[in-house]
């Protein structure tokens, strides 16, 4: 087995709103291997972004906290770090690409001013050195006129160009892990493909790991080695990308796949999963997906299913438990790992 760069164990994040407490992340487990691209999939509101902010230590500190569990980065427990130690990591060892390139760059500073920040902080570079480095990085992400763009303001660039700037910002210090939170969602379709190609190319050139958060299974199939499917603050399925697409186990994953429009069957009705992701405050006992699941039975409503490990394929569903084996597609015997 290859070396793990990031390992998340039973992570629970709690948000406080006055006296109310809600848990948008309820016991998340997964890991990322060195050099690997891990896809994190799920509908909006399932906790993908909160998980990534927790890794970056960017959860709003007044209203949220890590209630339990830990995040290990190169075997170092991130949830125990002080703010100062964390700062040395951010932008240096772990960096992040955000969803909204239009609003993620500061409108009153030039591109160069914003990009030189991590170089100055982490690499202690001189101004001229940093400038050279930035220009070469801007060229690397495929921006034309890099020497001019460095002195321009964000509003002078298009959305696709800004996302390239964001990617170069993330790459500047050659981090070991990049978290990309829906990096293409806000862009035009043609630009999306370009940005994904760019990420793929840049990843191929180094041994960094990529955690790609998306709701688009097509992107996952294109980019990732392994996939984690999240639902309502939990990991419901985890598998190699081909394994997942060939034989999805969890009804939610199956639903997601069915809802993909298929090219060869244009006349068929688009499938959609009924209902909505429950809000964290609505989740009580049983499986969180029970109210939308087509295979729901009594046990789902009364007991929370554990994660069944079916040999590198994890599914958090009672269908994987042995007594109901015949209901699921006669698989190898599931073993609970919790």
């Amino acid at each position: 087995m290859s070396e793990k760069i990031l390992e998340i164990n039973d992570l629970r994040v709690q948000f406080k709103n006055g006296k109310e407490k809600i848990q948008p992340i309820r016991g998340v487990n997964f890991h990322i291997n060195k050099g690997e691209t891990l896809g994190i999939v799920g509908e909006s509101g399932c906790g993908k972004s909160v998980t990534s902010l927790a890794i970056m230590g960017l959860l709003p500190d007044k209203t949220s906290e890590i209630a339990s569990g830990n995040i290990l980065f190169n075997n170092q427990n991130l949830s125990k770090l002080t703010e100062k130690q964390f700062r040395k990591l951010r932008g240096n060892d772990i960096s992040m690409i955000f969803q909204e390139p239009m609003t993620s760059l500061n409108p009153v500073f030039t591109i160069g001013d914003q990009l030189k920040e991590p170089l100055k902080r982490h690499k202690k570079m001189s101004k001229s050195q940093a400038r050279k480095e930035i220009i070469s990085m801007l060229q690397q992400v495929g921006l034309p006129r890099a020497e001019q763009i460095i002195d321009e303001y964000p509003h002078q660039l298009s959305g696709g160009m800004r996302q390239r700037v964001m990617i170069s910002l993330a790459l500047l210090c050659k981090p070991q892990l990049i978290i990309a939170d829906e990096p293409t969602t806000a862009l035009d379709v043609t630009i999306q493909a370009q940005i994904l190609d760019l990420l793929k190319k840049l990843k191929g050139e180094s041994d960094m790991s990529l955690m790609l958060i998306t709701h688009d299974l097509g992107v996952v199939a294109e980019m990732c080695n392994r996939v984690v499917v999240m639902y309502a603050g939990e990991v419901v399925e985890e598998a190699e990308v081909n394994e997942l697409f060939d034989s999805p186990k969890h009804p939610y994953t199956k639903g997601l796949m069915q809802s993909l429009p298929s090219n060869n069957d244009r006349k068929s009705k688009l499938y959609s999963i009924k209902g909505q992701v429950p809000r964290p405050s609505e989740i009580t006992v049983g499986c969180a997906f029970a109210n939308r699941c087509p295979h729901v039975f009594d046990r789902c409503l009364n007991e929370t299913p554990p994660s069944f490990n079916l040999g590198n394929h994890i599914s958090k569903c009672w269908l994987q438990d042995s007594p109901y084996k015949e209901v699921s597609h006669n698989e190898t015997k599931g073993t609970a790992i919790r």
């Binding site: 970056m56 700062r87 960096s95 993620s104 920040e117 303001y153």
Partner: protein
Amino acid sequence: MLDFIIKRLLQVILVVFLALTAVFFLIRLSGDPTALFLPPDAPREQIEEYRELLGFNRPMHEQYTDFMANAVQGDFGQSLRSQEDALQLVIDRLPATFQLAITALILSLVIAIPLGVLSAYKRNSIFDRIGVGITVLGQAVPNFWLGLILIFFFAAQLKILPTGGGGTWVHLILPTITLATYSIARFTRFTRSSMLDILRKDYIRTAKASGVPTIPLVSRYALKNSLIPIITLVALDLGTLLGGAVITEVVFAWPGIGRLLMQSLMNRDFPIVLAAVFIIALIYAIINFIADILYAYVNPQIRVK
């Protein structure tokens, strides 16, 4: 940029013109102007003589065009009391008012911006409580009353500062505090709210994610962003400061335009009132004009084009 400046200058002229027109007609329509221009106990012959002399027996529109024609040349007539040139009297008082207003402005910015930033950054902390407290209380305290209380403590009781008058910096202390208090409250509020707004922005998260420490994050990044709304709001509020200056001048007998305006209103010395209105509207319009340029300067989305 030149287009913008010309457009704004035309606007300044329009504002001043309309302000003068409004006050002119207000004075003329509010009763027999001769009676207003003279002390109430003036004899009848004198009233008639005055009416003839000042041309009040002529039709209104003629009086108005005459007034405007003279005003354009800077001639607002003579003070009815001292027979001095009205505009000159007002201009002579200008430096004193500027001295007071600018000191108060600087004092309030120096206090309000750090307080507002701290209050927003350490939201719900003790600093925030103090900041919000000052904001709420400062806006409820009438500045003339604060002036009276300061006089009572520092002049009447402790006898360490003069009650009023002008000249030295010692005379400036109490009026400045009085005038600045309300602005401190307002500006702290602006800074806090625009800072809170900026700190929620995506690009602040980006900066955090690239490892920028707290102090430069707030003082260098967020502050520059929030200066844009702060400048606009402060400029809009300078009218209140100017208005407050008038009242403060009266309380402390500070020899500025405000006190002159008040005395002229009391004495019904309307040429001076019109000249003062002219100067105040002009100053205010120019301040707004400067604020617009400053705004364009800190906001690259306007500047680079």
